[in-house]
Symmetry: C2
Subunit: 263 residues, 2 copies
């Protein structure tokens, strides 16, 4: 079983991609909708939540853990790997970094994300460690998550705000833009339109799904441990009618949410 967690429902874009690329394995997802968003919270709090979420998925039988949340990926991974040392962890940041490195020609890369992700400087550190010549330009874009969760996917206000966030990055001449939040693939078209054709986008959901696929291929013994087949199970820490709407929007199909209280 592949276990995936996120601060809320954004990680369902990752579920969708994994279902596309690895339809043979069962997925269990936990979205911490009672405590969402993580993006505005401190690293300490985010780490505490990440540990609880991991424990839940392992108890449910997950054999690998996918951290679909950028805030967790950029702060809590070392602690998780130490606490659960026999479990393979996948996070959303590194695969995007690798893809951006492949795509860029002028070595000028942009990244948009929540405030926590950007302020963690995780992308800065990653790029500096693999290629010091990369120039990384970061832009916090904290209003995009609420706009997307409102379903304002095509509204002029969303277009305007996307445009505003991208101006400083375009002025720097980036040729590659990392969507540093799992919500953003839902407005990829608008982001591409406002970024212009010259800029290539990196979608974290696609990259992490590819990374998992490759890992399973080179570790065939793992494939046996992953329960084959079965509908994905989606657990959340809180349910509202709006969450059900958002889940459908993200996953692209109707799904039953199950409520679980971790506290």
């Amino acid at each position: 079983m592949i276990g995936i967690f996120d601060s809320g429902l954004g990680g369902l874009t990752v579920v969708k991609e994994i279902l596309n690329k690895l339809p043979q394995y069962k997925i269990i997802y936990f979205g911490d909708t009672a405590r969402t968003p993580y993006g505005t919270k401190s690293a300490e709090t985010v780490t505490r939540y990440a540990i609880e979420n991991t424990k839940f998925l392992l108890e449910k039988g997950a054999k690998i853990i996918v951290v679909a949340c950028h805030s967790v990926s950029s702060t809590a991974i070392p602690v998780l790997k130490e606490l659960f040392s026999d479990i393979p962890f996948f996070e959303v940041v590194t695969p995007s970094m690798k893809k951006a490195l492949k795509l860029t020609k002028n070595k000028k890369i942009g990244v948009i994300g929540t405030r926590t992700t950007i302020e963690s400087k995780i992308y800065d550190r990653l790029f500096a460690s693999v290629d010091p010549k990369i120039k990384l330009y970061s832009q916090p874009a904290p209003l995009l998550v609420p706009l997307i969760e409102e379903g304002w996917l095509k509204k002029p206000e969303t277009r305007r705000i996307v445009k505003k966030y991208l101006i400083p990055l375009k002025m720097r001449g980036i040729d590659t833009l990392i969507l540093g939040c799992t919500h953003y693939p839902l407005i990829k078209k608008i982001i591409q339109e406002k970024a212009g054709k010259r800029i290539k986008l990196v979608d974290p959901s696609e990259e992490i799904a590819l990374e998992i696929k490759n890992f399973i291929e080179i570790n065939p013994e793992l494939a046996k441990d992953l329960v084959p087949d079965g509908e994905p199970e989606i657990f959340v820490s809180d349910i509202t009618p709006n969450f059900e709407k958002i889940a459908q929007l993200f996953l692209g199909r109707k799904i039953t949410l199950k409520k679980i209280n971790l506290e």
Copy 2:
């Protein structure tokens, strides 16, 4: 001691008004910044959080409890009053309702708030119980909280979105508009500008502070229990640099936040 809690920092607009009107009493505030926002969560989850927050304030010595959160005010008050039956509770919804009743001439009243507040239909029920001739028009305005917390208090995007939210209410011919969220007083000017001069605004922070002042005046024995003087103490369940900035914005002065873990 006057105890006040909110899902986050918005309730500091209430603290500011109480400090204006009742500077002689000590205030203790709890903002649940680790689990904010409540506005998107279910009534069950919001009630559970409200009970924990109330217990914390009572342990700290609060003699009256002010619920500065509209989501809690509109869902959890009956449970709180039953569980803590010897404590006077104040909430933000009823005082606004009373003020709107006084102000309206054509009996057409509008209210804007988070999705949870509007969907709770608390204002509908309250107005129906006091004057069935009142026509209440509600508009969820969920993007205003993130815009305000971003500090986009005067940005054109904020103006546009406020305008968009108010159009349906203006078309109904309301003459009074309730700001159904403690964040909204920070953009009162824009709201007034987009509503037009004909529409009178009801600010929940002002009304709840007046209600508490009146209650203490007619219950002088309570005044003895309220520790006089002393700087307000502001507790939060999570601290980030951005929360400190927002707290200052809301309270209108620099303040030290103290972190407390309720879970």
